[in-house]
Structures are given as structure tokens and as C-alpha cells.
Subunit: 382 residues, 4 copies
């Protein structure tokens, strides 16, 4: 019987959407239990959150450094930490926990520069710790199924990838995106990008995950559409993959009527696959004779590597929380296996810090392209 | 700060879909914690489940009677029990826990006869206990939104209700539906109906919940489509509501390609509302001039009585588990309020044992109609 | 090279939708040319229409009797007549042209009683004339494709047919449906039904055409929903087919937001087929393993007996006019073959007066059921 | 009463899809009649076509030059000619008929170079003749409705345009596109582009028509995806409009599963409009508060400038032929008005030779960009 792990959280104070969502996602399977936290830079708010969550007050910390120090000293210290703070703070916090020997889960983008991301990547390796970056959407059973089909050659060689992620929440002149928007739109706090860091990294990651392709170079145009915007709110990116496939990515925060419309269409030499996050319970496979087939999560045709994450039968809709739960489910299994000495790298089925670093490489190349008259920029990892 | 309640479960042993689903639904919010159970008629399997769930072995019971007795004696006994056993057993189990003074949640249909359901209804009232019947689909934010819109007069007087719930899992001659199918298709264990008890009661309940209408009489045709079927696997029901509205319900288990396709269309004197369970994140409102408007969960236009159940923003799909969580969230709040002496009936926003009894009244009237050349049968509650 | 036929029209004066639609449908292929007409009971309006249509004034007739007489005497008289007048007049007009030895096309319902329809059926046979009833929707390539798939056994034995045809144009209390509504809602002019005669006959015909099944008996409930309605505006019909399949039909004129939403779902022992008139360029086939496949008009998988009617490649949408054109295309080929002496019955791929009579048998049985407490009524043709 | 015009056709011999489609489109309204033709470079095939079409053999010409000469001499000569030959021949043929004083309709792209297009533009002006280029898709009622809504300010200032037109018919290595593919993929016969000339010009035109925006500059990447391709079969184009709006266009012939999937999404400062050619009977308008509204052709909300082209009520699907008919309907009215002396420029509601020239300017700028490392290229008309 697998042990129920303990975890702590940095960020996720009262009213914070993403911290709440992570906690619920972990709850669904009950494989780990929240026991510690530094939920806010305000000690008062942090304590308020701890009470709401029925936490032992002695494990509600004033700041993350104290938390890392204390928890690493405890016999029953946390098995991993979940970092859900503003992007600019990810690097310091993750570094701190890794140095304290604690496994890390961090929201995306993992840092605000490639250098930072690669340092964390190196550190996690040195410390032999497991580091997940929560690219939520790769957790969907259907996304995992697509990855397997492409790996199996179902659509032949990938040729043309169309991916987009429009939202509309920042479309009006007055829209600031609240507290989240504040740091997202401040160049210092965001690494010089807004929409691209938030949505573009999701697009980069899900395409990479589904297709297994590496980007060779990009040509990007980052637009500031709404008058007064300091950072990009609409991005177009031409992509060339190693091996010759081509791609076109679009992300936007000014597309009124779009909620969270991540969509991927992958055209290969033997077929096409189409997927939409907002209809995450199904996807479409077209074969080379043009036969259009729709597959639902829960159907016998879904590959086992994806289907094993099912919690409900077809037609009993799973959603965003479950996609996140799937990431955690595998991550916790891996941490558990480490504790029990049965872990090996092949067990990993979650996005790692290396995937996070790829995202930053993508962001920096796009930014360089956009700032240089939209020339092609290679996506070199150091 | 609201107390985290304790609950127990009867049924839901290893491999049982519905017990697992109830547990996950409760986990999402963390408002109650599973502490006791009689998960299977096999003591061995029950213990196995308790271990999987990391339960205190002393609160894993050999049978539900023992559980009701012991838990009602404990200072820290369970605050409510969740009954997820085969339908035929609901009555005895629920009665037992009510008599022990324990609040009850029971899967639908609440019993296999109207008499039984009305006895439980009476008993719960006498004992002043809270009794929820888990008609899952009424928990969807969109379903609750529709109820509010109709209450507000958005579509005027309801005139024509079209509701259907086709599935395809029992469409082949060989399909028995596994263990679940066994008791569902045995007349003694099911109250004389199969498809109607399973799916028809959902249809009856969601229409009643959305529209607030009471059924006056029904004319039903219960078919045994697949050769060899002993009970109905496809049902057509004409419905007349009090006040004059008309309805047509269809439920089926032999509709290949249908997963879990509960769908309701409500036509009023001033507009139409359309909703599909498998697209539970949205619904359509049409006004009297034919303007078609689509509303998503999370949009500002959703009434507060529904929107208050949101956990994620629009486009971050919620699904089946969340609809169940919504029922539990309110039920647990009500139980908590009872414990704290702040409860009143108006707080109830979950399907009660009375709604369960309505379902049985519907089933019995349909069965009587179908067995008598499809005449009209009144839906008299005792 | 096939001769271009000559045709005449009765009805279809200025502003009449259906006459205009018939003329355009015939024009698309250019296989027949309008040369004569009695377009209105008003000689003035009839002449006005003749001028609009650039007709020889000498072939614009004051009334249909004169037209039948004169045209049958001419060497170059019309090869067929198209009757697009109010339903109550169909019988007399069709009879008159048949007696004059002229082939007839008549809008549906062919008459307002089964007796009338069967007389016309008998007369056409005696006179050896071709009689088409324009059930438009069976002309769609996709509808013809479905018919062939079912004939080929693709979905096995038909078990459960769900068909519906809601419209919303008569949903408001003030809605009279204009001039058309006047005679449609007058019991004397309509044969005692409104919605059922207009929409129900389409449903009956398309199901019969697609499945090849004959209805054994019906149980019908004809509702007058909108206050003040004299005839039915919403109908529910339970259907039993010969051979044991079951069906449920719904037609309505009070479903706000529905334009012209004829929809058929046919569930068989080996699969399911779904079709919607408003998405007439595609249909869905589900096999017994639940695989969902979408077929578009123009795809290689469409059977030749349907595909031969294609005018445009897939994705170049064909619509309502083309479905009507397909009926005329085959009808005109048949008339031409008769003229050339090469005709045989197997060439007929259009709805005949016998199909029209089936429609009236359906209407009369439903009316008898609805007027007798919704009992089952057999669908006896004389 | 408007005169029925006479027209001739160059191209459109036996088996040619597009000539057939033009003839049917014109037939639907009966406003013009085909009386002359040079249907093929083969005199035999041309005669064969004339016979099929029941044409006077004396007006079936051996070549277009003879036709232009003879028809311009006749008292009853053609009122306009329809040119539906391979692109490379358009220039010479159109020039010949213009010089003969005959109005011209030409398929798109109007020529294979901007110089040629501008010469025709100039010549038509000098000769005071009407010249339509058949960009079919702008003829849809819904496309015209969108144009009017945007003109009215319904979505405010246009900010971001996403447009795409994928097809899949040339996705396989063996796919040559038949006879059409031959000249389309031959650089000499096509102006150096394949996919961009065929599909890209449609995208450029429909966006320009709907939004009224002029393109300032483009950055294009023309791909040859399928091994062995000589010309582009997949194109990505970044677009900057005068006034500052941004756009992203994608066209492809290698997207398996896409039939003819022209799709436009226009995001403005006050709302969004979405339209898909394959669902041409509807479009979606989203307002600045995120309200999603679906409008069908035939609804009262459609602006009169679009609705006046309706032939059938909502739900009675119109399609590709009708969109083409709408162009011809207006063109023929304009030619008629010219003949009657009542014409003025404001009557023109069809795509002109100037629109055709814009298309060539777009193509040439994209080609220059793609051939120069994807730099920005201005879209200068001479």
C-alpha cells in the first residue's frame, strides 16, 4: 500500500485561484496531504489560510525560507513543496527548497529567464530531486492519448502544426487582470513578456509533448494591442522544428469571447489529429483517406498509457482539475518510488524542470526575434 | 471556521465505480473526511478497501448494522453515511442509519418502491435528520443556473419539455453490464425496471428541478429491445405536468454511440433553454425573438445562486465530479449548520429523500402504464 | 442527348415561397423549362408572374382546368405539371391533370385525406403517368447515402428510431403564419391537422425512406399549445414498425429557436446513424464497438447510389435547393425515359404518390389515436 | 421587368467543375441565359459541350478570339462573358473581350501577375465595362452581413484578424490534383505560387471585404511540404493592416481532413465575429461583455444589405451555389442597369477587377517576402 505523502505549499493564500486549484487536484486522489505552508507574504493572511485548511498552526510559516529550513529538519517533514507564487519569485523559492533537499513542484513558467531555469535544472539533478512544472494541459487523458498515437506513427511524420491559445480577459482598455495582471504586465516581474510567458509556454509545451518535436528556430511578432499595454497581449510565432516540420502558434489575451481556448491541430504524412482543451474529453483522428474518427476519453481505442489515468467512464466528464490530478498522481508515485528505492527515470510521465527550461528558451528566442524586426532566432539551450 | 465533518460509507469496495466517485467528489472540497466504512459484504474486501483508503481498521465494519450501532455510540461518530450499494439494499441500510440517528446520503434511486421511499421520508422527518439522494446532474452549475432563470421567468411559462438520456453500453446481445448489470436486470433486485430506474429517474429529477413542475400523469412504453432482455432497456414516456405543460422523455441503454447523453430542452412562452450533460459547461438561452445566446459557466450572466458553486474560471472545465461535489458541499454545510444550531430548511440546495420518492412515484406510474396497454396513469404520492 | 422537358406550374404566384423554390430547384440542372402556368386564382397576379418569368402570355392560364385542357391538346404541351397550391386544393388539381394525361409533381401532403390520396394513386396507375410528391429532404445526398448504408446492413437490424422536426415560427400567441398559416390552421382546409400534416409527414417519409420500414401502428398525442390554437402545434407519436422496431417522433411549431430542425437518429443491432437536415452535408455512423465516424457529402465512402447526385466537391456546401433538384433530376430522367420508351420502375428514385398516401395513412391514424385517449391505432392502407 | 441577359463562356468544357458550377449558379435566378461558348481548346469537346447545353451550334466557337469578334458584331451578341479557364490564360482572354467591348466575369485569381491585373483594370475603366472577379465566398449572405456589422461599428476597431483556409486534397505524395493540379503546380502557368494563388487570394479578399481594411505589409513563409512539390502547398503569412491592426493567415493543401475550410475570426475593440465557410448559414457575434450570440441567415437581425439576397427561410440551407448566385445576381443587375442607362457605381456589390488586382499585389508581396528570408514586404499597388 503506497504511503500518503505530505506536502507543503508556498503561495496560494486566501482568494488565490491557482493555489486552490492545486490543492483540489491533489485532493481528488488523496495520495498526498497538505501539512505545511507559507501561503502569503502577509503572516496574517497565511495564518488565515492555514486555519481555513485546518493545518497545524506550527507548520504555517512566516516565509518560505523558514519553511524550507524547518521542514527539512523534521522527521516527518514534507515530501514535496508546491510553489504557486508570482513568476518572478519562482527561482529563489525553488532554489531554496532544492538546497534544503526537498522535491519541488512549480507552476509554469518555471522562472523568468532561461539562465534561472537551467540553474534549477542543474541543481535538481545534483541533488537528485524530482522537479515537476505544472503544464496542466498535458495531463489530460486525451492529450496523453494523442502523444501515444503520434509516437506509434498513426499520423506518420508530423508536417504542419497549428496551435493557438486565445483568451479574452484583457481585451478592454480598463482590463488589468487584477492582482495577477499586475505582475504579469510588469516587465521586471515577468521576464519581459506577458501573454507569451503565460499562454505561449503552454502552447510550446503541449506541442512538444504531443509531437515529441524540438523547435529549431522561431520568428515571432509580439503585439501590444490594447492602448496603454506595456507588454505583449497578442503573439504570432512561426516555428521550424528540427527535422523540417513547420508550425504556427497564436496566443492572445484580447480575443473577446475566448475563455481558455488552447487548441492544437497536428497534420502528418498519414493523417491529422485535432484537440481542443475546452472539449478535453475527445479528439479527432483523420486517416490518410480522409476518414474522420472521433475518440472519447474512456473508449477502448485510447492507448493504455493514457487510459490508465481515467477516473470516470466515458460521458462522465473529467476536466481541468483531473488533468492537473493526473500530473500529480504520477509525480507522487515517482516521489513514493524514490522513497521506497524503486524509482527509475522511465516512470516519469510529468513535465519536468527541463521542459520548463525549454519553455524559457522558447520565450527568449521569440522575444529576441520580435525585438529584431522579426528575424529567425535559433532556440539554443546552453 | 467550519468543522471538517466525518463520514462513513456503505458499499464502494474495490473496483466499485460509484463509491470511488463519491469519495473523490467529497475530497475536492475537503469539507468531510472518510473515517468509517462497511465497503463490501465480504469482510476481506472491506478490509482491503479500508487499507487502500488508510482508514483506522477499528472503524472498518463487517456489516452496516454493526457500523450504525458502533458509530452512533462513539463520541466522534460519523456525521453522515454515504450509501452506495445495489438499489435493492438501499431501504434497509438507510432505515438502519436513520434509526441510529445518523444523517444519510443515498445513491439514486433511493429505494425500489414508492412505499419504501415514503417510509424513509417519514422516518427522516421524525428523526429530524438530513437525507440527500445523489441525483448527480442537478449539481452542475449550469443546471442550477437554468433553474434560476426559469424561476425568474426568463422563458415565461414552460410549455414543452423534451428530455432524453440515451446510453449504449447494453446494446449488444452479449452485454450484461457486468456486476452492476446483474442486479439492475434482475426484477427482484430492481423493482421491476432497469433502464427507467437508472436513467428515467435522472430525467424525471432534472426536469423537475429545472422547471419546478410536478408531473400529473404519464403514458409509458417500456421496451425490451435486445433479444433475451428480461427488463426494459429502452423507454418512451409521454408526460403531462400540473398546469398543462407537456413532455416527452426517452431513455435507452441500446443507443450505440451514446455515452451518457442526458439532454434537456425546455420550451416556454417566452423562450427556450437547452442543456446537455456531456457539454455541462454551457447552455443556450433563446429569447422570444429567436436570439440565440450561449452562456458558459463562469460568465457574469450566471445567477449567483448557481455561480457560487464555481471552483474554476470559465474555460477551465469542471465536470461530473464537481457536479457531485456541489451536492455534497451544500449537504455538508447543512449538516454543519445543524450541528451548530444555525440550520433552516431554506439552506437546502440538494435533492432530498422527497425528491427520491417522486422518482419512485414516476417509475411506478410508468410501469403501470406500460403493463396496461400504455394508458395514462396518475402520479399519486400517498 | 436528353431532351429539355417543358413543364407548367399551378400556384407559385408573386411572393409564394414554395413555387419560387421549385422553379429554382429545377433551374439548377436545366433539364426542364417552365413554359406554362396558372400561378394564382387572381388572373391579374397570374399574368404578373408570367411576365416576371418571361413566359409566353398565351400559356398563362386563368385557371388550372383550362391549362390542363389546352396543354394536353398542344403538340408541344407540357411534359409535367408542378402543383404548389394550398393542400386542400391538391386533390382536384392533380386529378384534373392526370385525367388530361399529364404527369404530375405535387407538394406534400399530397392530399388532405387518405381516400383522396389513394384515388390519385389509382388514377396515376391507370393512366400510366409518373407522379412525384416532393418530400424535399429525402433528396439530400446524405439521406440517400444513409438509405443505402441501412440497406447494406451497416447498422444491422433497425431497433429504435428517434426522429424530430421542431420549428419555432408559430410560438407566439400572435403568430398566425401569414397566408400559409391561415389555411394550415383551418380544419376544413387542412384535413384536421396542422403541425402533423406539415412536419409529421416529412418525419414519417424520411424515416420510411431511410430505413425501408413500414409503420404498423401509432399512439399519438396532438397538442394545442399556444392559447387560441384550433389545430395541433406540437405532436408526440409513439410508433411501432412491422418487424418490431420502435420509434418516437416529435414535431412542433412552438419550439422557439428551432428553424427547420428535422433530425433522425436510427439505432440498429450493429450501429447507429445520425443525421440533421440543417447540417445536411454530413452524417455520423457509429459501429458496434462505438467507433464514431463522420462522413461528408463528396467523400469516397458515400455509396454511388447517393454520390451520383453530387454537383460540388466536399466542403462546397450543397443545401435545400439541391435536395429538391435531386428529386427533380431523377423525376425528369424518368419522364424523359418514358417519352423515349426506355423507362422501367427501377429507375424511380423519387417519392411517389404511394409515399404520399402512406403519409396520409399516418396522419389519419395519429388523429384517430389522439381523438381517442391516445390509444394505439393501426396504419391500414385500404 | 428586367431583360434576361445573354452570356457566353470561355472554358467549362465536359467534366470541368468550375464552369459547371458557374452555369448552375446563374441558372438559379434565371436572370441570364447561356447562348455562346468556346468551351475547350479542342473543337470537338467544345461542340460536345454545346450539345449537352442545347446551344445553337453556330454560337459554339473554335476559339475565344473568334467568339469575341463574332459576338461583338451580332445585334443579339452576349451581354457578358464568363472566363473559367486556367489562370495563366485569363489575361489574354479577358483583354480580348474587353477590347471587343464585352463585359467580363473572370474566375480568381484574375491574372498571374499584378502588372497584368492592373492592365485589365485600366482597360475596363477606359472601355467603361463591368468586370467581376468571382471570389465566391464573399457572396454568402452571412459574409455580407458581417461586412455590414463591422461597417456599423458593432465590434469597434478591428484589432486582430485570424484567417485560414486549409484543404487536404494534395496531402499525399501521389496527389497531383488532376488536370487542375497540373497547371496550378507549374510555375510558368501559375505565377510562381500554387496554394497561395488558389486559397491565399480568397483569404485576402474575404478579410478585405469583411473588414474594409487594406494590407500595409506582409511577412510570408511559403512551404513545400510534400516531398517533390515544386510550388508552395502550405503558407503562413503575418499581416499588418493600414491603421495598425494585425493578422495571421494560414492556407494549406496538405491538411488531411480539411475539405474547404475557409474560416475567419475578427477581433475588435468592442467584440468578435467568427465565420466558417463550411457552416455558411450562421455566424457568431460576441460583444464586449463576452455575450455570445449566434445569428442564422434568415433571422430578423441580419442587415438588409445582406438579407436582400435570401432565397429561402432560415433552416432551409443555402450553400456554395447561392453564394456564387448572389455575386451574379448583383452583377447582372448592374449590366442591365448599364443597358438601361440607370447604372451608378454605388450599385456594385460584387468583387471587381480592382479587388482581383489587390489579390495579385498580396501574392507578389508574399512571394517576395518568402524568397528573401521572410522579411516584411510592402503591398504597393502601382
Amino acid at each position: 500500500m503506497a504511503k500518503v505523502l505530505s506536502y507543503g505549499m508556498v503561495g496560494g493564500g486566501p482568494g488565490a485561484f491557482i493555489g486552490d486549484a492545486h490543492r483540489r487536484s491533489i485532493n481528488i486522489d488523496g495520495k498526498a496531504k497538505l501539512v505545511a505552508g507559507a501561503f502569503s507574504r502577509s503572516a496574517e493572511k497565511s495564518a488565515e489560510m492555514a486555519e481555513i485548511l485546518h493545518l497545524d498552526p506550527s507548520r504555517c510559516y512566516a516565509d518560505y525560507k523558514q519553511m524550507a529550513a524547518k521542514e527539512s529538519e523534521r522527521e516527518d517533514g514534507i515530501d514535496f513543496v508546491v510553489v504557486v507564487t508570482p513568476n518572478v519569485t519562482h527561482y529563489d523559492i525553488c532554489r531554496c527548497f532544492l538546497e534544503a533537499g526537498i522535491n519541488v513542484v512549480c507552476d509554469k513558467p518555471v522562472t523568468i529567464s532561461l539562465d534561472q531555469a537551467e540553474e534549477l535544472e542543474k541543481l535538481a539533478k545534483e541533488k537528485d530531486l524530482l522537479f515537476m512544472v505544472t503544464y496542466t494541459y498535458t495531463g489530460h487523458v486525451t492529450a496523453k492519448g494523442i502523444r501515444q498515437f503520434i509516437k506509434n506513427g498513426t499520423i506518420g511524420d508530423v508536417r504542419v502544426v497549428m496551435a493557438e491559445y486565445p483568451q479574452g480577459w484583457l481585451a478592454k482598455e480598463g482590463d488589468t487582470g487584477g492582482k495577477q495582471g499586475e505582475w504579469r504586465c510588469d516587465p521586471k516581474l515577468s521576464g519581459g513578456v506577458n501573454c507569451l510567458g503565460d499562454l505561449g509556454t503552454h502552447v510550446e509545451n503541449i506541442v512538444a509533448t504531443m509531437t515529441g518535436l524540438k523547435i529549431k528556430r522561431v520568428l515571432a511578432k509580439l503585439d501590444k494591442i490594447v492602448p496603454g499595454r506595456i507588454l505583449d497581449d497578442n503573439d504570432s510565432v512561426m516555428v521550424e522544428f528540427e527535422g523540417g516540420a513547420t508550425g504556427l502558434y497564436w496566443t492572445s489575451q484580447v480575443a473577446m469571447g475566448s475563455d481558455n481556448s488552447l487548441k492544437v491541430r497536428i497534420h502528418g504524412s498519414k493523417g491529422t489529429i485535432r484537440w481542443e482543451q475546452e472539449k478535453c474529453e475527445e479528439f479527432t483522428i483523420i486517416d490518410e483517406d480522409g476518414n474522420i474518427k472521433i475518440l472519447h476519453r474512456g473508449y477502448p481505442g485510447i492507448p493504455e498509457s493514457a487510459a490508465k489515468y481515467d477516473r470516470l467512464p466515458a460521458g462522465h466528464t473529467e476536466g481541468w482539475l483531473e488533468s492537473m490530478s493526473n500530473l500529480y498522481s504520477n509525480y507522487i508515485d515517482c516521489v513514493n518510488a524514490k522513497l521506497e528505492g524503486t524509482f527509475n527515470e522511465n516512470m516519469i510521465d510529468y513535465p519536468t524542470v527541463s521542459d520548463g527550461a525549454e519553455g524559457l528558451a522558447f520565450v527568449e528566442a521569440c522575444l529576441a526575434s520580435s525585438n529584431n524586426n522579426n528575424i529567425w532566432v535559433d532556440l539554443g539551450r546552453r
